[in-house]
């Protein structure tokens, strides 16, 4: 074997060893980065799961006057049940209150319907972080506990903030309560956020029943909507109640 051939051979061998080393390194990097990626994703998912699991742990003070698994306030004593899921931040809920609230009140007086108001909080993201929906729903529970849910419900709509504004602060919520005759126990409950976690529970129950938007209007277990998922007009709502009366 000549010297030239030997040199070529050993250079070739070196190259092969280097290639094998590079391949080995690539294999290691691929393996361990893949392991790292999977670990990171598992940990991230675990964090989300953990936070959610802990959120559910808090104790909930359910207002003793609440009906329907403690998630609603009943007004009236008629045979037809109207479930109204509302968010005090939701402009369309206010619209329904303005358009059909009077009709519902008359149905209550005529003992045709029992209305169950479910104050949910799905628009907490629309009040610059002040969670107006939850605070208002919690305050309405305090009002209900003192026998003035409907009065407070009305005054909240009359003073409804624009979406994506901070909304009335707790002092203002208390002031609104006083304007409809609510007293110190109401004030304490609002300041202590006594029923705020209850509002979260009501919202959970609402979602677990497969509802997603507010207002959701249900007459004797049947959801009432206008064409194309729009707000039902007063006439459509009246028809639904009549149909339920049979």
């Amino acid at each position: 074997m000549s010297k030239g051939t030997r040199d070529r051979k050993s250079a070739q061998a070196r190259r092969i060893v280097e290639q094998q080393k590079a391949a080995e390194r690539r294999r290691k990097v691929t393996l361990w980065t893949a392991v790292a990626v999977v670990l990171v994703l598992v940990v991230a998912g675990g964090i989300g799961w953990g936070i959610m699991a802990n959120q559910d742990k808090g104790t909930v003070t359910t207002p003793s006057v609440a009906v329907d698994e403690g998630t609603a306030f009943a007004v009236g004593s008629g045979p037809v049940t109207v479930d109204l899921y509302e968010d005090f931040m939701c402009p369309i809920c206010n619209q329904f209150e303005q358009s059909t609230g009077g009709t519902i009140e008359k149905m209550v007086t005529d003992k045709r319907v029992t209305v169950r108001y479910h104050p949910v909080a799905i628009l907490d993201g629309a009040s610059n972080g002040t969670k107006y929906s939850t605070r208002a729903a919690g305050a309405s529970a305090a009002a209900a506990q003192d026998g003035k849910f409907l009065e407070y419900h009305k005054v909240l709509y009359a003073n409804q903030p624009e979406e994506n504004s901070s909304g009335p602060d707790n002092a203002k919520l208390i002031e609104l309560g006083k304007s409809v005759g609510l007293g110190s126990s109401f004030e304490t409950a609002v300041n202590d956020k006594t029923y705020d976690s209850w509002a979260t529970k009501v919202t959970d129950t609402f979602a677990s029943r497969g509802f997603n938007g507010t207002p959701t209007i249900v007459v004797n277990g049947k959801q009432v909507e206008g064409p194309n998922n729009t707000l039902p007009t007063t006439a459509v709502f009246e028809q639904a109640v009549q149909a339920a009366e049979g």
Partner: protein, 165 residues
Amino acid sequence: MDLKQEQPTRLTAAWPWISTLARLGLAVVFLISGGLKVTDLAASGRAVNAYDLMSWETAKVVGAVQPFLEIALGLLLLIGIATRLSAAIAAVVLVIFIGGIISAWARGLQIDCGCFSKGGELTGGRTAEYGLDIARDVGFLVLAGILLWKPRTKFSLDGLLLGER
């Protein structure tokens, strides 16, 4: 070297840059969509629930886990670690999202897809724009596809670990 191979070489040199853009673009997409949802996990759960594809209990878990997965995936893509695997996971996630939107569309649901928001049911005359949502997600899927095909990128941890420059 003859002239024939001159052209492909130039494209070969360009690929890592194209892939880098795809990687960073996809990272930003996931960071933003996860970041928007992570601040309200309950709302995220309701957005998943609005698709009406699973029980509320399951939707709640998916809604809580999903934003964190999206942010983690965004960060992994940002630093460029196991790029091909990360891109594959992103592609799978996007296909699931697209499938969900198509299914909601097919069933005539009127929901906000919750892609870059907290989602939920659409009310008051807002209509779902499923076509646009799907087109956008397909665009993201193309980015993931580029990375799956050409995972070598600039400024990546992969490159650093492999001693590339």
